[in-house]
Amino acid sequence: MRTPDAGSAVADAHRREWAGVLAATVRVTRDLDLAEECVQEAYAQALVAWRDGVPARPGAWLTTAARRRALDHHRHAAVAQRALPLLVVDEVAPEPVGPPPDDLLALLFTCCHPSLTAEARVALTLRLLGGLSTPEIARAFLVSEPTMAARLTRAKKKIATAGVPFRVPAPEELPRRLGGVLAVVHLVLTTGHTAPTGATLVRDDLLDRAHDLARLLRSRFPDDPDVAGLLALVLLTDARRATRTDTGGALVLLADQDRSRWDAAMIAEGRSLVLGALTSRPVGRYAVLAAIAAVHADAPTFDDTDWPEIVGLYDVVLARWPSPVVALNRAVAVGFADGPDAGLAALDALAGEPRLAGYGYLAAARGELLRRAGRREEARTALEEAALLTANDVEHELLAGRLETLR
């Protein structure tokens, strides 16, 4: 029997220390699978060992335990035929001679290497830095567990075989590489914000990971405006988390959210980051997206929202980084700034966009604008279509409720 203290301390350490412990272990094993195994064993060991008291520095304890396991494994593996080549890891001067290597950042850049597919990058990041299980990651990206397991295995094999180094890129490489890492964190954020599937609207685990990763990047690149913009976006988006569903788990729209329960500290920090990031030229995509979130945060009530400002910001995003989803969001904003008819006109321009075919939000936005324009029959058809297209139970329920009012 383990005391609840040891159990919760281990759970807490899993949440806080997983990535750092794993990264430090990878340096020793030079093998991602073996490192994961050793870290898992270290956590299991902690469940027993911490009954007599939780160490002062749980992360250091776990790292030592995992590395000791790794050295044991190494002795066995030296005889056995290795399945994969060892990871390329730079030699470092032993502490305290040199500064400690930034293993955590090296692991992040390895997971987000451009030689991997975008899907593999985000899956590896959630697995190795986020400590999520394969089923949890599979669920977030609408694929089966075997498919996700195969994706992870293939990516790890490519890293080892092609010689993707475990290293923070050199300064001349950094700007290009950092962009790829930010894209992964942004994908974790958007996937967590509205889970594509499942019983809950929000995936707390994904949002927490997006938070941690954005903070990690900010701590390492405090002067980078894109990093500041992304952290601002995470904070301003996540500040609304508690109010986006009611106690029963039902979706609460932006218009109906209790703004007094938005996280004021997150909003204040996000706003100040946005203001800084917006002054850099050329302005970054995440900074503008965060600015849109900041306009919402600044409105004391939904009716006070500065919609023309939001439309203007979406225009900036569309001009520099055109995407049908952004165009859809802009059309919704136009619907509030200039009325439902103007919004519908903006949406009609997107009707033939193949990348929005089967995208439930297009039908949902159209249905909502039609409802506000008083075109009830057409609104019903559009909302019925939207309900068919969402795999998220909470969204489905909201659409069903809307449809009820139109009967």
């Binding site: 030689s115 993707v164 490489e173």
Partner: protein
């Protein structure tokens, strides 16, 4: 330290349409590339176009009793696979990791296509070295 094969894919029609001066400039660019990365280069070559290629393959349905294509192999005119951009040349480079190999690959002069970077299996490296 490992070896990587850099496969250069190019649009042959555009390549054929180059004037003498352009061909000269491309060759000079490859020479400069060789000068810059000489320490890492282990080999390389520029291929004649696919019109000069001959493919040798095992006839369909033959029992696999021998690893080689054999005497009754099917010999045909043309490359093994027809692609819009065809293999036009290669380099073999020695590099400590993929990032280093990619940094070299970025510098390969190729006006009408791109390059593919593939790690060589260690066994192949040993064969080459012996």
């Amino acid at each position: 330290m490992g070896q990587y094969l850099i496969l250069i894919y190019t649009d042959e029609a555009s390549m054929a349409a180059m004037g003498e001066q352009e061909v000269g400039a491309l060759m000079a660019a490859h020479q400069r590339f060789g000068g810059t990365h000489g320490a890492a280069l282990r080999g390389g070559g520029w291929l004649h176009p696919t019109a000069t290629a001959t493919t040798v393959r095992r006839p369909d349905g033959r029992e696999r009793d021998d690893l080689a294509a054999g005497e009754d192999a099917l010999v045909t005119d043309g490359p093994y696979v027809e692609t819009k951009e065809a293999l036009g040349g290669y380099y073999v480079v020695e590099a400590p990791d993929l990032d280093t190999a990619l940094a070299i690959a970025r510098q390969v002069p190729e006006p009408f296509g791109g390059v593919e970077v593939r790690p060589l299996r260690p066994a192949m490296q040993d064969l080459q070295g012996s």
